[in-house]
Symmetry: C2
Subunit: 425 residues, 2 copies
């Protein structure tokens, strides 16, 4: 009898706990030009090298003035003009009863405490007056110097994934290059006597190895560097040799050979290599036979000194492609993100409105290949529907999916129009 | 007075309609190795070169048998064994009263019409018997040959974005390389006298150009090839010259210089270049002054013959970085996706549970920088919360965001615990 399998939540917590351990590992750091750093993980804090904004900054096109004077609807003489990029220090402070024309992004002249919007004033004969229907308060349309960040502040923290907003912030602080963590090397081993490489003509009982390129794409998308090992046959010797070849990797992912069948030898080979297993299955569909554990490995040559990467986490994923993809997203992604140094490990779930009823199971959490609209106009909620499929081997159906619909354990039916969870690719 | 501005839904529909026009353009095609094709857009249909599955395929480890015999709980003699990758044709059909041991992925022997699961049988003395508590029906645990796709079927269509499932399907059909559309060239022009390059020390009223690298990252993420033009000063001559430099691009994105101020000259320069404007603002915040239009351009030298790319769509995005990013995701992404040949143009919206109340406006749709948890355990819904900010220039706040929270026009308050829409990065 197999041991009691954990629920999805239980094994996800096992994975998350291990991911937290890996998060503190030392890792190699490389310096990348900002234009090449998108999607990478920041390795050191970035600091503001000046106050942000560096001056009291107008957020509008309009007139810099004293709020008390403008709010009283006084006529204010236009005595100057300042546009973004111009320094104003040499022009002296704003006189009483006066205003300066000012553009968005320009420094507010000394003496002014508000900017009234262009659209809110009447202009006549070199004077402005705030429209009767409008008011203004001190501070309006001005971001004070240093309100966003102070010089010396840490504005981005190690572990931050550099998406477009962070790229912009790094640039605004003068970082033309940024320190990022080296991407973890992920050894990918596909197993199965039935597999032939994509270039080879398959025999009548053979199929092409679709998991190798799919897992490589998943690894790349999750921030790792895929290392595709030669496919291993379903025999002990081939598997032992292949496990040896994965020695140097930061993470080891094997697909195939982990279910209950006689020829599923991967677990045995891992055990021979000294594996500790954190789990050898979970109450999920697909992916029930998924395996997570760790191997004791020699340190890699290019490890940083003092690196403790002798523990190599591994995953055994079921060989069916839909099972491989689902378990990769659920379990491998968070471990890979942690090894990469990312502070938000995933997986990423969203919500969507269910288009059609979908069945669940009493004793399993289901992850059903599904298509979500993700959009349309503002009035329309994202809709998700399961894709009719022949099962976990059905790539033709899976290729019409852009997410997995989650049916939690014990929920026998999700009903149309419910808001449901989806696992994002 | 400015013309009446369209609502978000109205301008989004204007953009979508134009995107549909661009979808039918001819574009250059390149052949890429499958390992390099992730994220690219398929240019020609891919066909199944054999039935999928290519044989009646077992989806379980167990015993291939006749359902009628097994369901009657007869004792069935084990007369053979077949694993994945083995052809069975030479072994003749399954005799009456017998079963074959079979592994997941193996071809079902002729004569068998079901596979009973390993876990559901009692094995004794070279015989199996289905457990009393179990039944089995014809067809169980078998995917018939061709059930997923027939030889010659189109399994992937032009316009499909190649994510991991599509990569796997292409591999399973023998495509070691795939035809994809060339990525559209996107000219990026940042404008503003206040901007200095990231490498240069900014003067007291200057700031660094953070939009150039941010927009380049956004273009790359949306499937385009960014071409960064030199920054243009806020004067007519510099802008005219810069617009000329964007001649060859498939799409032209300008940031800055589109609001109501005196020195905002971009719209005038575009008008001098013969621009037609589809809209020059929208009832959104941020991004109200965003501009969308098209220029008549000479054909690019490397256009495919008959290409009609003389119409160059352009966007003018407000210069504040948060405004630039929001309007890029809302409007540029779908046009860029259409130019790239993608059949699902975006933008991508999701849903999440609101963590804290958030204010809206009577006359604007708000897109508020926000952070979504996207995960946690199965019981926990993704939660989103607006990020406190000093406004659309506040990159320090924006860099803590991973989505925009959508507050539709006319909704004065979104309440905590509501399920709300988010714009995904």
């Amino acid at each position: 009898m197999s041991p009691r399998l954990g629920s999805y939540d239980e094994v996800a917590e096992t994975v998350a706990a291990k991911a937290r351990e890996f998060a503190s590992r030392r890792r190699a750091i490389e310096e990348l030009q900002l234009g090449l750093a998108s999607g990478r993980i920041l390795a050191r804090p970035l600091h503001a090298d000046r106050d942000l904004p560096p001056f009291d900054r107008s957020t509008r096109d309009g007139y810099a003035c004293r709020a008390a004077e403008a709010a009283a609807h006084q006529s204010l003489r236009i005595v100057g003009s300042i546009r973004a990029g111009e320094a104003h220090a040499s022009r002296g402070p704003l006189p009483r009863g006066a205003a300066w024309e000012i553009m968005t992004g320009a420094p507010v002249p000394e003496g002014a405490d508000a900017v009234v919007m262009l659209e809110h004033v009447e202009v006549a004969g070199g004077n402005i007056r705030l429209a009767e229907s409008r008011g203004v308060e001190a501070g309006e349309n001005i971001v004070p110097r240093g309100a966003e960040a102070r010089r010396g502040d840490e504005v981005l923290f190690p572990g931050t994934r550099l998406a477009p907003p962070q790229i912009a912030l790094a640039a605004s602080c003068g970082y033309a290059a940024v320190p990022v963590f080296a991407r973890p090397r992920v050894a990918i081993l596909t197993t199965g006597d039935e597999l032939v490489p994509v270039e080879a003509p398959p025999g009548p009982a053979q199929i092409r190895n679709s998991n190798a390129p799919m897992l490589a794409a998943l690894v790349t998308a999750a921030g790792g560097k895929p290392v595709l090992l030669p496919k291993a046959a379903d025999d002990a010797e081939a598997l032992d040799m292949a496990i040896g070849r994965a020695e140097k990797a930061d993470l080891f992912v094997v697909s195939g050979g982990v279910s209950a069948g006689k020829f599923d030898l991967v677990e045995e080979a891992l055990a021979r290599a000294g594996a500790i297993f954190h789990f050898t299955g979970a109450r999920i569909q697909p992916g029930k036979p998924a395996v997570f554990g760790e191997l004791l490995r020699g340190a890699a040559e290019d490890d940083p000194p003092g690196g403790n990467r002798r523990i190599q986490p591994f995953f055994g994923l079921p060989g069916n492609p839909v099972s491989s993809a689902a378990t990769f997203l659920l379990f491998v992604t968070p471990v890979l993100a942690a090894l990469a140094g990312a502070s938000e490990p995933g997986p990423r779930f969203g919500l969507a409105r269910l288009a059609r009823d979908c069945k669940g199971k009493a004793d399993l959490t289901r992850f059903v290949p599904a298509h979500c609209t993700f959009g349309g106009t503002a009035g329309e909620l994202p809709q998700v529907a399961a894709i009719p499929t022949q099962g976990s081997g059905d790539l033709a159906a899976f290729s019409r999916a852009n997410c997995f619909l989650v049916v939690p354990e014990g929920v026998l039916k999700l009903h149309a129009d419910e808001v449901v969870r989806i696992l994002l690719f």
